[in-house]
Amino acid sequence: MKDILQELETRRDTARQGGGERRIDAQHAKGKLTARERIELLLDEDSFEEFDMFVAHRCTEFGMQEQRPSGDGVVTGWGTINGRMVYVYSQDFTVFGGSLSETHAQKICKIMDMAVQNGAPVIGLNDSGGARIQEGVASLAGYAEVFQRNIMASGVVPQISVIMGPCAGGAVYSPAMTDFIFMVRDSSYMFVTGPDVVKTVTNEVVTAEELGGASTHTRKSSVADGAFENDVVALAEVRRLVDFLPLNNRQKPPVRPFFDEVSRAETSLDTLIPDNPNTPYDMKELIEKIADEGDFYEMQEDFAKNIITGFIRLEGSTVGVVANQPMVLAGCLDIDSSRKAARFVRFCDAFEIPLLTLVDVPGFLPGTSQEYGGVIKHGAKLLFAYGEATVPKVTVITRKAYGGAYDVMSSKHLRGDFNYAWPTAEIAVMGAKGAVEILYRSELGDADKIAERTANYEDRFANPFVAAEKGFIDEVIMPRNTRKRICRAFASLRGKKLQNPWKKHDNIPL
């Protein structure tokens, strides 16, 4: 009997060795941790329960039958993050370079199926050389099986991908369909075709880092939602994110004890808006002063900085924030910011996370590059996302809300629940100067007259009261009381029930 028990331990030990000591050392030398070490950091201590530790591939081509390591290059299972269940897979670069075989894919599919069934997030730690070439089409089939599950799980359980090594070719499409992608600086890259193929086909010379490194994907392509300094920090920050997210689409966002006053007044917000309407200010200050304990988890921090997206907590409970950033491009909407915010709004709506929208938007960015790039349809994404969202929606207009962008930014007309404005708000079809130039075209030669017209327009329309008279603004609030007012608004919306008409699915302008 003892021998039989010992046999299990021996087999486990072998499986835990992955690709062996030499490959583990090589992994460490690259500044990377092994698949199992990463799981240890991601999950609560001793909470990991492994599946399929002894799964081995079934390939017999190219002499593969000689090497059948236990686990087949991916570690899968479940565990907890601060006591809450998550499913996880972690690709093991030390075994066949983490390449994806039919059985490797099956292991991933198994935990994804369980995650959907049991309602818990899936976190994928990617570190893989790509398809297992020896298995040919079986490997491709494996990818597609994973893709299909990513699609089915989308909107049911949160899916998070962390790219911690190579992720190239077909492999990129699984992370691409998850909710959030994070990368590790200097040791991860993602691309559809690598630098060699790029060189052959287009004659472009580019390094892997330039083509698909963390900085490319967080700044240029917006494929990644964030990048971290190393494996340890990345996994700590993923834990922090999971604390904000509901486990599935049937649950409310998590609540945790908080140590902040709900009615905390911030007198400094009374002076946040500069005297000069063209002087920028930092919208992040407002977000941090509203949030519980000033804690803000920003998404896509380095991309389309004219809009800010991320999570805060109010009274301990998660709220998604979308805010125009006057510091960048005056906070206007454009293709990139609309896409960024639209996807974020849809994530929040899918997972019952209430939405707070902070508005200071002078309009859409004009220009040929925007029009040729299809700003009409991209802008419509954000409009669509807000309009279809049924979660509690609270909006505060701090300064400008001009034109179509006013409508887009979670206006009353898009089923906004609470639409507040600061006394500094200017809700109008456009700025005074532009409006006067159109309305009084014949007087354009007379500077004095135009100045007078402009002043009159400002007096009449550069305020929140015209909109408030019509009920488009529910209440004009004191900046210092913003946190209290928003907290109370969301508190009153905890029982909100709103359903869109039945449809197979909508047809958002993709």
Binding site: E37, Q251, P254, P257, F259, S268, L269, T271, E285
Partner: protein
């Protein structure tokens, strides 16, 4: 008594004057420029009058505008504060003509003390010790030796036309004087084409010590002890204290009496300051007299209990001084730290912008400790580019110097300022500097102790351990809270352990925490145990801890994967991890910050207005590279050395953050 006074100033000093006036039941009028419409002094005053656009030369120092404000409000007297119009004789004359009292000295005193040569002559005549020297022509080396002997060694031999150290020699004896004279003369001739030489006393180990005087218009003059202001950066005072740790009673009396003699000689009334330079042997020499209230007056107030502003107002009202010299008692020790909006890590570059957080330590006053903060700003206010970058004057008082320094350390640690660069860490560093602590400093203190600028403070091992124990205890509290999130699996909750590894300042310290209801005992791997108790809760940005009976104040912030902790001038990235996490963290490569010597970084957040170069251009030192607009000011960024532009990463219209790479050089 006056019913209403106008304060022809702004910022902290205006607020300071308003406080005393209010205490005396006098109404106050503030004046303000466009930039100060929302300033604290404006809201504190009973009335406020707008006097022009932001630049001081179009508002605060325009005599006509101030006079108009006086007429409009019917103010009977004007307190000028310091700077601006405070030592402007024309202003004092204008007031006199308008029959408005000037809360300051008579015009004649301002005029005679305003001129360096005249003031020195008057001082000599009044029997005030001045730096001995010989201004006449010196024929030859032997005459130089004779003069040097008369002055007394060491002496400084200087070229009349000299500057920048050229043609300057210090001589400690006859031989050196002979030799120095000759070489100075030669150097002066070749460098300046003017070989005239003069000799004066060389003041060794110079300290800046000044005497506060107070005189009324009835011929009474008293001195209120001294202030030591040796901690200066490029003649800008940074830390002051009263009394001086260097003076003895005899010197103090001699200096005080000479200061009063000088004041009487010019018919001085009101508060004034006589500045002296004092050498290592306590010889003191007159420098100049400031005919106004000094910035650092609070330290004198703290040790004498005299409200100088009140006294100035009373004197201006013609009252007799209510105290005599023998009533003046110096009690305890006071220190002032000037908090400037200057970034010490960027060579004290002025920093402007919004104070997103401004929480000074609580002002307290007891028998054993006083904390006083004179300020003119508030959270959410703006530090503007138009005026002096001083944010606040933080003062502490205690019965002795050591306790006053200790009070200052804690007061600085408890001072929260965010949104702009400021010198708090530098002030903390000074409070912990052994030369300052021992009182052994000269006016060269900053230049000598921080020759390459300020690069932050490295904590000693004991301090690191105290921070580590605090961080571990705080981290544990935060982790327990995290483990209480909703949606947990019943019966499978996360257990927060007791063993941790704290990494801070390059050290990894293993600790175990045993918590009870009063606090926690943090035991280090070598057995040392520290008792930590605190009411800190996650999210609190200021942690007040008691560690083994000693107070520790930490500013706590979040960084990716850890904590940012600031204390005692140190700015630390602290990580608290389980032993296993720490072991894995050790495998992570250390990432060196990118080499930015070949890059042009954006020095402030702003908008790229113009690029003056293209990729591949060769540029010379000083050549304009691009223009960045920030705070409506165009800043031209120039090449620091000859270089070739390898790459340009920004285009006109781009909005950049601090340290974003604008272009790279080959």
């Amino acid at each position: 008594m006056f019913k209403k006074i106008l304060i022809a100033n702004r910022g902290e000093i205006a607020c300071r004057v308003i406080k005393s006036a209010r205490k005396m039941g006098i109404q106050t009028v503030a004046v303000y420029s466009d930039a100060d419409a929302n300033a604290l002094h404006v809201s504190m005053a009973d009335e406020a009058v707008h006097i022009g656009p932001p630049p001081a030369n179009q508002s605060y120092i325009v005599i006509d505008n101030v006079m108009r404000a006086i007429r409009e409000t019917g103010a009977e007297a004007v307190h000028p504060g310091y700077g601006f119009l405070s030592e402007n004789a024309k202003f004092a004359e204008a007031l006199a003509a308008a029959k408005v009292a000037f809360i300051g000295p008579p015009v004649g005193a301002i005029e005679s003390m305003g001129d360096k040569i005249t003031s020195k002559k008057i001082a000599q005549d009044a029997g005030v010790s001045t730096v001995p020297g010989y201004m006449g022509l010196i024929e030859d080396a032997e005459e130089a030796v004779k003069i040097s002997q008369e002055i007394g060694y060491p002496v400084m031999i200087k070229a009349s036309a000299g500057g920048g150290g050229k043609g300057m020699r210090i001589a400690w004896n006859d031989d050196e004087a002979r030799e120095g004279f000759q070489s100075s003369k030669n150097e002066a001739a070749s460098s300046f084409g003017d070989d005239r030489i003069f000799i004066e006393k060389f003041v060794t180990q110079p300290r800046h010590i000044e005497i506060q005087v107070l005189a009324d218009s009835h011929g009474n003059c008293i001195y209120l002890g001294e202030r030591e202001c040796s901690i200066q950066r490029r003649n800008q005072k940074v830390v002051e204290e009263a009394p001086s740790p260097f003076l003895d009673a005899k010197t103090r009396k001699a200096m005080g009496e000479q200061a009063c003699a000088l004041a009487s000689a010019v018919g001085y009334t009101s508060a004034g300051t006589v500045e002296f330079i004092v050498d290592g042997d306590r010889n003191f020499y007159f420098l100049e007299m400031n005919t106004r209230l000094q910035v650092e007056h609070p330290v004198t107030e703290l040790i004498t209990g005299v409200d100088l502003v009140e006294q100035m107002i009373r004197v201006a009202n013609g009252e007799k001084l209510s105290i005599t010299q023998k009533d003046v008692k110096l009690n305890g020790w006071a220190i002032e730290s000037r908090l400037y909006a200057e970034d010490p890590y960027r060579n004290f570059l002025p920093s402007i912008g919004r104070l997103t957080r401004y929480r000074p330590p609580a002002e307290t006053a007891s028998e054993t400790a006083v904390v006083r903060n004179d300020t003119g700003v508030f959270e959410g206010g703006e530090i503007s580019m138009y005026y002096d970058p001083m944010i606040a004057k933080l003062c502490t008082w205690a019965p002795d110097r050591g306790a006053a320094i200790d009070g200052m350390r804690n007061a600085l640690d408890g001072f929260e300022v965010e949104g702009i660069g400021h010198n708090l860490p530098f002030l903390s560093a000074v409070m912990d500097h052994e030369k300052f602590v021992s009182g052994d400093m000269t006016t060269a203190f900053i230049a000598e102790e921080y020759p390459d600028g300020f690069e932050g403070v490295t904590l000693d091992d004991r301090a690191v351990r105290r921070v580590a124990a605090a961080a571990a205890a705080m981290h544990r509290v935060a982790e327990i809270r995290r483990a209480r999130v909703s949606g947990r699996m019943d019966n499978h909750e996360r257990h927060v352990g007791r063993d941790w590894v704290v990494s801070a300042q390059g050290q990894n310290l293993g600790v175990s925490i045993d918590a009870d209801h009063e606090g926690s005992t943090v035991t280090f791997s070598d057995g040392e145990a520290l008792r930590v108790s605190s009411d800190w809760r996650p999210g609190d940005q200021l942690a007040r801890l008691d560690i083994d009976g000693e107070t520790l104040l930490l500013k706590v912030g979040k960084i990716s994967g850890g904590l940012r902790i600031r204390s005692r001038g140190a700015d630390l990235k602290v990580h608290v991890r389980t032993p296993r996490q720490a072991e894995l963290a050790m495998l992570m490569p250390e990432k060196l910050p990118p080499d930015t010597s070949k890059m042009l970084l954006c020095p402030m957040p702003g908008l790229v207005v113009k690029l003056d170069v293209e990729e591949g251009d060769e540029v010379q030192e000083g050549q304009a590279l691009c223009t960045v607009e920030a705070m409506k000011m165009e800043n031209i960024l120039r090449a620091e050395k000859k270089a070739v532009i390898a790459r340009i990463n920004a285009a006109p219209g781009d909005s950049l953050a601090v340290d974003e790479v604008i272009m790279e050089f080959e």
